[in-house]
Symmetry: C2
Subunit: 285 residues, 2 copies
């Protein structure tokens, strides 16, 4: 059986008791390590599980899934995913391949905490969120602004938007590749400040008032860990905020934000007076 | 400190290792028992935790939070919530009261699996969901149809809608109450079939084609447990489906449903040919 096990968000002890029992008995243990990362490293996981952990990068999951699935029709293989297994489409792909395998490989999934609901720690109601939107790193010649349309769909209905921020954990260095060498760039994780700056940059172009300087937003970092950080402010303020180490996410507040949500969120404001002023002027129904 | 701890979805072993450590050391352990329930009972939790668990019903949480918070500025109190703590607004309320307490009570939250992301087990992409919508039990003289407007907002943008279904776990018997007696009705949990039937009932009235008989939907039951069940079909088919014991949820599919989502979901179809026909005629882009 292939056990697809969510690890939660922060460290090795966020796995469920049930998940840990499976991991400790499994024939092989893989860790999907390219859509998100835990705040602890592989060695710490291995030491806690008492088991070797095989890092599964994008190439292995997408092109060499046979290796992962080998023997899983008879033995237990654990495939670990940071957060909830369903956050990424990885899971559905793998499960489909299990169904199509000859003989079919049974699968079982153990859900766990996801940024999609942990973001409720901001005090924003999960019922008031629209679709989740991804933000990728802009480069000099690639500034994809389609996120703006997705956000606009949400704000049109008054919804909050959770922005999931890009991570680059095993990117080949393109210049080295051109010389025939495979060298990987150091890992990069988008910050709340970078995300806010990119939103403002696209607003400059589109000018629809979706991501304006005065738009209220909440930045979160390392949710679920002991040093999680939550900071609220205008997009302009957040573009200058430092929330420390990864992983970061950002929520753009929707106009439907209820007074009770505001009461809680304002406790995280960088400048509470300014936050309250903007709220009263542009948000309060 | 008040530790607000998510228990996940199915049984006593879905708690995180970190959460279990806190529970076993806490001065008192409360279980929020009115917005959702685990698939195991209080006795099983107590036996596994090795600790007594105090059931916190709606009245206690909303009107007697002083009892829960007593001494929490100095000692550790655990407040357990089925699923993810942020699924319900309970958490924000309690955390606000901790902030306002004299002296303030520090809080910490341990996230866990939520139906909001576990529903990805259907194969539907979490990125294609709009706002989450609640469905309450209709009665003879109360048939609140505002859910229809929320669903329409989602379907207008092509999104799936997760419907969270009503549970009644400690409802006073109104007839007995009128005679001055407090008697509680037996617990009731809305099924996928009841939800689908109510959606069709409101469609009859509104006639906007949002919840039509031929609309594709997916019913889920006991997600995250070993006997979880997933059934796909038209709303008319689901109105006759039996998914067994609680808890149930329903997803109404949006027109944005991608071919890859369909490929996975059709594996759960009650009538695969019919499912494919409806998909090809009304959904496939």
């Amino acid at each position: 059986m292939l056990h697809i096990i969510g690890l939660g968000l922060a460290d090795e002890k966020d796995v469920s008791v049930k998940g840990l029992e499976v991991i400790r008995k499994a024939e092989r243990v893989y860790l999907e390590a390219y859509t998100a990362v835990l705040l602890v490293d592989q060695a710490q996981l291995e030491s806690y599980y008492g088991r070797p952990v095989i890092l599964a990068d994008r190439e292995m999951v997408e092109s060499k899934s046979d290796e992962i699935l080998a023997g899983a029709d008879e033995k237990d293989v654990a495939f670990l995913v940071v957060g909830d297994p369903f956050g990424a489409t990885t899971h559905t792909d793998l499960a489909l391949r299990c169904r199509q395998h000859e003989p079919p490989i049974p699968t079982r999934t153990l859900p766990n905490a996801s940024i999609l609901t942990a973001v409720g720690a901001t005090g924003l109601s999960l019922y008031n969120f629209g679709q989740t939107v991804s933000m990728v790193f802009f480069t000099e010649d690639w500034m994809p602004s389609s996120f703006y349309d997705r956000v606009a769909e949400n704000t049109g209905l008054g919804f909050h938007t959770l922005m999931l921020l890009d991570i680059k954990v095993k990117e080949p260095d393109l210049k080295a590749l051109a010389r025939g060498k495979i060298i990987y760039e150091p890992p990069r994780f988008m910050t709340v400040a970078q995300c806010a700056a990119q939103m403002l940059e696209v607003e400059e172009e589109r000018k629809q008032g979706i991501c304006s300087k005065e738009a209220l937003a909440v930045g979160v970092a390392r949710l679920g860990s002991d040093d999680q950080q939550i900071v609220a402010g205008t997009l302009e303020e957040l573009a200058g905020a430092d929330l420390g180490k990864p992983l970061h996410s950002l929520v753009l507040c929707g106009k439907k934000m209820h007074e009770l949500e505001w009461e809680y969120v304002r406790g995280f404001a960088m400048d509470q007076k300014k936050f309250d002023d903007v709220w009263k002027q542009n948000y309060k129904a």
